[in-house]
């Protein structure tokens, strides 16, 4: 197990390194001079020169990367042009909001998705199986931003039940915060629920066909025990790997959801910065989110190895 964990850690470090290189590269795939592009067309020549110096663009490529990477390790992601603040400070204020929403959505989609999928598999071909399967297919294909707008129209504008935008910390005003977060969190959970329901359904159906399930049944165990102890446990293994993918979906979805509901999280910040050509914020955001996903993937891998010992010796 220890060698498995250390192998995974080395793998993660390698991937993190490449993620950092990609983020660095982002500023360099820009056609033309990044410094000039950032400052806009009204910038004076001296200002552009100063910007080039600040970004280190006058030095060789690899040295720039080394310099940039050293700064990143110190937590220095540069300074936002729009907010006139260090990028790291901007993230520090907004990341908790995104994590809070994503985590809630993650838990909700895990519970709802997996139980719906298992239920479908047990009652295969029944009425609810069909309804849930169809809903799951729609849930995957539905544009999240559009669903959000429909939610705003129905529950906000028409009925006035829920606020249509904004964010309040749950520590300041829990009720208002929950009301504001309800739609975004559910929305964020939709793709997750759909994917998990489909996956756990097919995973469960796959497991139920195995020999050991037949053995368990033929030795007279009750259906409940067979399903819960023998089938479910094994069916969950492939679902855990999906969880890594799942985190990516949550964070990606928060870009849309935060924009629809004007929630001051990472996604909202990154979209605004992208539109306003505040490139260092976009670069830092890619790096930060990529790193978070890498580390969670590592944790998922380790738990996967713990669940399924065969994998440790690959």
């Amino acid at each position: 197990m220890l060698s498995f964990i250390s192998r995974r850690i080395i793998h993660t470090i390698a991937v993190l390194f490449i993620v950092s290189f990609f983020s660095f590269l982002l500023l360099h795939i820009m056609p033309g001079d990044p410094a000039a592009a950032m400052l806009g067309i009204e910038a004076k020549k001296e200002e552009v020169e100063a910007m080039r110096k600040e970004l280190g663009l006058d030095r060789p490529f690899l040295i720039q990367y080394g310099h940039w990477f050293a700064n990143v390790l110190r937590g220095d992601l540069g300074k936002s042009l729009m907010y006139r603040e260090p990028v790291a400070n901007l993230f520090y204020a907004r990341l908790p909001v995104t994590l809070y929403l994503s985590l809630l959505a993650f838990v909700i989609s895990g519970i709802l998705g997996i139980s719906a999928g298992i239920f479908c598999a047990i009652k295969r071909g029944g009425f609810f199986d069909q309804i849930i399967s169809i809903s799951a297919n729609i849930g995957i294909a539905i544009p999240m931003f559009w669903l959000g707008i429909i939610g705003i129209y129905l529950f906000g504008l028409k009925t006035g039940w829920l606020p249509i935008y904004g964010w309040t910390s749950p520590f300041d005003d829990f009720i208002l915060s929950s009301k504001q977060a309800l739609m975004p969190v559910l929305l964020l959970a939709v793709p997750g629920i759909s994917i998990l329901a489909r996956q756990s359904r097919s995973s469960m159906l796959e497991v139920v066909r195995q020999d050991y399930i037949r053995t368990a049944r033929s030795k007279g165990l009750s259906e409940r025990i067979v399903l819960l102890r023998h089938a479910l446990k094994n069916a969950l293994i492939p679902i855990v790997t999906l969880m890594g993918l799942h985190i990516r979906i949550m964070v990606g979805g928060s870009v849309l959801v935060e924009t629809v509901f004007s929630i001051p999280g990472m996604g909202f910040l990154l979209v605004g910065s992208a539109i306003n050509k505040d490139f260092l914020v976009v670069q830092g955001g890619v790096l930060l989110i990529g790193s978070i996903v890498c580390v969670t993937n590592l944790l998922v891998d380790i738990s996967y190895g713990w669940l399924d010992p065969r994998l440790r010796y690959e």
Partner: protein, 304 residues
């Protein structure tokens, strides 16, 4: 297949009709399984409709997509404007019809870019193995660590926006899955007996790749391509919704949903209708992809 090529010509001719028979039977089986499910047939019809609408957009749309009409701003649905008009009086139905052109174009081009690069890299990684495989797959892991939408957003913005750059960004975002799939396929097929046999009769690397590896990894790739056409359309719509995709006044479904957002109380259809189009098209590609998977999955062969 290729074993036949090495046989004497007379023998090849004698077995040819039989082989054709098998192919016909196989083809019939695939279409039967595929279109046996009503949702798959429905999906195929939606895709057909999308193609027809996109191709014949100028002929079937009642107005010009850029023609503004200041006397009919935010008009509700009526006989003249079946879905109403937007904030500058452009006919909504017409713009949805024209939006299908962008969606179809984006789907095809982005999947071509991503698919070709991804499959190429996957082939190289799987076939070469060793450190080449390690490097390529670590790069793919890194790309997969980023939410696709964020990756595409960053690339599109850095490149400067616009249709071409959005297509490049979508292609790069889609590419990793192809690489992974192709690499996995190649690794599993590479050790098969027929590859060893091909090697033994002196086939070179290129021949093995073209004659054996590519055709045999084709079924799962076809499924992925179908589903990804929908994914690319969805991603483009999301980018356009965020205001980072294809700039106005081009009619794109995502941008239309976004612009209608401000007029929800006046005419919610401006937002709702293009969203229905996105949902239908993405769902259709997913359903057909699912149907293909069922039909091509060798494990189901013989059962159905």
């Amino acid at each position: 297949m290729s074993e036949n090529n090495t046989m004497p010509k007379s023998k090849l001719l004698s077995i040819q009709p039989e082989k054709k028979d098998i192919q016909v039977r196989e083809w019939k089986r695939i279409t039967r399984v595929m279109f046996g499910r009503i949702v798959v047939t429905g999906g195929a019809l939606v895709i057909l409709a999308l193609i027809l609408v996109a191709v014949f957009a100028p002929q079937i749309s009642p107005y010009d997509p850029y023609e503004t009409n200041l006397f009919a701003i935010l008009a509700p649905p009526s006989k003249a404007h079946l879905l109403g008009t937007d904030e500058v009086g452009r006919d909504l139905l017409t713009r949805i019809i024209y939006g299908s052109r962008i969606s179809l174009l984006v789907g095809i081009v982005a999947v071509s870019i991503g698919g070709l690069i991804g499959m190429g890299l996957g082939l190289i990684a799987g076939y070469a193995g060793g450190w080449i495989n390690t490097i390529i797959m670590r790069v793919i892991d890194a790309l997969l660590a980023l939410p696709p939408l964020l990756l595409m957003l960053a690339i599109a913005v850095m490149l400067g926006g616009g249709l071409l750059n959005v297509l490049i960004a979508l292609g790069i975002g889609i590419m990793p899955t192809y690489c992974r799939l192709m690499c996995g396929q190649v690794l599993s097929i590479k050790e098969s007996d027929y590859i060893t046999a091909a090697r033994a009769i002196g086939a070179n690397g290129l021949r093995i790749i073209l004659q054996h590896l590519l055709p045999n990894s084709f079924p799962p790739l076809l499924v992925l391509i179908t589903i990804n056409l929908g994914t690319a359309i969805m991603m483009e719509a999301s980018l356009s919704f965020l205001g980072i995709g294809i700039p106005p006044p081009t009619a794109t479904w995502g941008a239309m949903v976004s612009s209608g957002y401000r007029f929800l109380l006046t005419n919610p259809l401006i937002s709702f209708a293009p969203g229905v189009a996105i949902l239908l098209v993405v769902l259709a590609f997913n359903m057909v992809g699912d149907g293909l998977r069922d039909a091509l999955d060798p494990r189901l062969r013989g059962i159905i």
